[in-house]
Symmetry: C2
Subunit: 238 residues, 2 copies
């Protein structure tokens, strides 16, 4: 029986063009050895791979597309290349694959097929935001998006805040970028005055902003950050 | 008023001696510019910093120790250097600072003092394990260590499994390395046959092992991984 290839999980930057500053050299060595990639967006992927060591031979690479529009029944063939003995790369558009990012479905298939999955180091806004928040990193939960509907959202914020106090668990979540300012206002309105909110925005970019205050202190501040259309992670803790 | 310095959060490898493969070049550039570090263990820190670009001038660096034996009342002076305008580095012994690692206390102080905190990219076993598990990365919780006492532990495992099914939330946790095999056995005994367990061991090392199976499939397998004294992350999901 032929030896199977491996599935490498390849992080991207969080928007920075300076790959060498943000990603380890080991990633580039692996990327250069791979010819077949599963990607979210072809154009973004080609740009990344060109900078990461495939400049000049992009047209010889093979691509499969996996994003929120991909039907999961289509992806079962994606791993054939690996079964034939070649390594493949699952490439993220921003940050690390599979965490707040499509891609987990293909890793599930790979695990089911007994394929070795190798995660590479890269920037995750969740992890970087948690590190810099000063919040509990021994117990934390990332819960994705909160509900859009107002009453549902208020209820969810209260639930998460309860978990902070009852379980000593940091709660992390995100919002669609154009609704970030409203989310921040909802948190200031709904949370206890003593609850701490960390706003982590544009992580790893020159405009990076990661600041923690209690709700009552955020309210007193005249200048609040403008989060509109900026990638932002919200964290609450006590 | 003097401009304050920044607090850089500096990851280490997860045991690999090959820093260049695992850590981004940008980290080394920053490390070389810093003279004052907060560290868990002096010897480990000196070894890391020597490899990371401070070879030859280790004796000129200034160190503060912060680990589980440090009294939190002592650390309030640690940030004086930053207040005088110089950058400092908070260095982890393994993985990233503040996540399943001491250090969050100093970041809380920094945030309270209005000091800019800059998290650098590095390997986190939690994040890498989650990526490679194939489990839900849109909703997950890391809960640290489970209780040692048997009945308490069984209860906690059931609670976490309930959260997997009720909230669609991946649960991640760790164990003292010499009790890993017992933990794995407890999970196989206590969890539903259909529940999936991912065992993520020696992440980023040559002996890396990250494998997902349903409980019923793990039980059928004759050869189970020996996790004794190996750094292991356990993940459960449906």
């Amino acid at each position: 029986m032929k030896q199977k290839g491996k599935l490498y999980l390849i992080p991207n930057t969080l928007g920075s063009d300076d790959l060498n500053t943000i990603l380890p050299q080991g990633n580039f060595d692996i990327i250069k050895s791979i010819q077949t990639f599963i990607v979210e967006d072809l154009r973004t992927a080609r740009r990344f791979l060109s900078k990461a060591g495939h400049a000049g031979n992009i047209d010889q690479l093979e691509f499969y597309v996996l994003n929120e529009h991909t039907n999961t029944s289509e992806i079962s063939d994606y791993l054939e290349t690996i079964k034939l003995g070649k390594d493949m790369g699952l490439l993220s558009d921003a940050g690390v694959p599979c965490v707040a990012d499509p891609g987990a479905a293909i890793v599930t298939l790979a695990q089911n097929a007994g394929i070795q999955v190798v995660p590479l180091v890269g920037p995750s806004s969740i992890l970087l935001g948690l590190m810099a928040s000063g919040f509990n990193g021994q117990n934390f939960a990332f819960v994705g998006y909160l509900p859009k509907e107002k009453n549902e959202r208020v209820k969810r914020i209260k639930e998460l805040e309860t978990r902070v106090y009852k379980e000593d668990q940091t709660q992390l979540f995100i919002e669609t970028p154009y609704r970030n300012n409203q989310m921040f206002e909802s948190l200031l309105t709904q949370c206890n005055p003593e609850t701490k909110i960390c706003v982590a925005c544009d992580i790893s970019l020159p405009s990076e902003y990661i600041v923690t205050h209690q709700v009552q202190d955020w309210k007193k501040r005249k200048a609040k950050p403008d989060l509109h259309k900026r990638n932002t992670l919200f964290l609450i803790y006590k």
